[in-house]
Subunit: 191 residues, 4 copies
DNA sequence: CATGAATGAGACTTCATTCAT
DNA sequence: CATGAATGAAGTCTCATTCAT
């Protein structure tokens, strides 16, 4: 399902991402993209069949090039690794901070909303699996419902990344992420 | 600063909120609003000077009619009350769930972004004050940095409300909010 | 035919004149007029039946309150008096400088154009009469065709007033008008 | 600074000129232009970035394709040549008669007003230079101040062209222009 | 004499897209 | 792979005017 993008397509998606980060979804325009790339509007259609395709490619990028080591980790270590990976992803492409976790931006397109919802679900299930493992391995306490646990871990991470974006990278994201992990470890530690 | 709105203006803001909830910010159109209200587009301009004013009125509503009892509470009780108030606000106007906490939606307008940022800051300071009180009163543990504490409390709440919105109110928001509060109390309890 | 205007009507016409002087004919708007007068747009219609009537009243003012002594003068003296009167009119209401002699502004309305054309014709005939008298009285030379004579006298006066308006009254209009009269006297003097 | 226009752009400017001549500046509308050219309104924007650009191109045309022989003439001959050139310009594009010398039409746009003012200044300086030459060469009398001289020459010419326009070309412009030149020569001749 | 609410027409402009070249 | 010209729909907003109060 995951399409390989040509270099030019990647340029386009980069630009699209940048435009949203700059001025919101309303700033994502065929005209704007092509102007940034010194292209005609018509020229864009050589690379994508339409705006929707561009947005889909853009959203797909949220998932990042995952998996490598991810698969081999389990329990709380996997949770921390996943958190760190989000952070690294955002640091590598700061525009993402304004866009990931902003599901509302894409509410307009049913198809894209679906795509995003699927990603969120897979994401969530992955975390729930790791939580369960962590509990079973006695790494974390067992008196917090799983879905609440998910919110307690991902909610702060999302907020952290959003704050970092809104502040235009005014603080050290990695450090604050580490701080969050430490706090979570303290709070969730088995008594 | 907070304008009193006429009944008609409130109708308009309600409609605007509904439109965003339905189809994202791109669905918020002068044309759409007026069509819903069986008005001419020109007619809208009798009540607001432009789209921006409507959005500002809409965003101002996020703060809700606060304060009543809020002022008298302190420490952790104030935190829980504030959380509950958010929940009630959303339950009273479910469209809000798709829009509050969606700062990105309004990135387009510099002015609105500013307005929102101001609200977030006031909100944050209020919470930090209450956290400090709660720590000093030995209600919660003191080994979590204040800003992380803020993220740990508000992050999950935001995520919860967003999930409720995305699922179209598929679960009992109030119950889950209560569950979140219980979990937080457990986690943050002084040892 | 010349209507007496109520004080309020005069205020309105003054404002209208001012608006045109400020921002061109496109700035003459029912809304703008009423805003300047702290009136509702609807309120304006208590005083005039529509925009056209206001413009007509405005244009009628170009003729000014003439006649008093005008009637008793003849020949070149009458010409100079008429030139001076234009100058005084403009000095009394500087906004006029941007509007009189700007027949094009009102090309839009057939009726107003007619009105203006009539004024121009009467104006012209009056001058031609005086020129004839001046020639017959040997006040000026007789080797210039009458219509060219008209252009030679009125053309520079119009240009002078327009320049004064465009420069926002940067020079002494009366003095320059006098200078023009002197020059004309020299040039047209019987050899 | 002077842009080369594409053929289509010239068509558009022609149409724009025609529309103003027909019904005043209020008649110059994107819609009207495009309708005349059997184009969509959106289609116009392929050729100009907006109304302002069209007006600027239009106004720039007032200066005409000058210079050819202009540069080689001096003194009174240059003045007469410049007068004739205006006349020819208007005869070639009669719509111009309703628009050149109608600075007020464009008072609305600050930028255009500036552009026009600049043209007027250059125009004026050129004439003043030629007047000075004519005086030094004893071609014309020297007892008229230079600025008044300018008004005495250009004022009648402007009025003549405007009259020709208002009368819809009812008389022979070239002949009347010649008559004006003859009269000026007589009046200004060295005694 | 004045207002508030509304309207229908029309203003300028931008959008995503298409098609011939 | 790219352009230039065009389109139809839609966007925000302003205009002159009306009408009930």
């Amino acid at each position: 399902m995951k399409q390989e993008l040509t270099p030019r397509q990647n340029e386009i998606v980069d630009t699209a991402l940048h435009l949203i980060a700059e001025g919101g979804i309303g700033n994502l325009t065929i005209r704007h993209i092509s102007k940034r790339l010194n292209l005609t509007e018509a020229g864009l259609y050589c690379h994508f069949n339409g705006k929707l395709e561009i947005i889909q490619a853009l959203v797909s990028r949220f998932e990042g090039e995952v998996d490598e080591k991810e698969g081999r980790l389990h329990g709380w270590a996997a949770v921390e690794s996943a958190m760190a990976r989000r952070t690294e992803l955002v640091l590598a492409t700061p525009d993402l901070a304004h866009v990931v976790f902003a599901e509302e931006l894409f509410q307009g397109d049913k198809e894209v909303a679906q795509l995003l919802f699927g990603m969120m679900q897979r994401h969530r299930e992955m975390f729930l699996r790791h939580f369960k493992e962590a509990i079973e391995a006695d790494e974390i306490r067992d008196d917090i419902p799983l879905d609440t646990l998910f919110r307690l871990v991902i909610g702060p991470l999302r907020l952290l990344i959003k704050q970092w974006g809104l502040s235009n990278g005014a603080f050290d994201l990695q450090e604050k992420c580490h701080e969050l992990q430490e706090s979570l470890k303290k709070l969730l530690a088995k008594k």
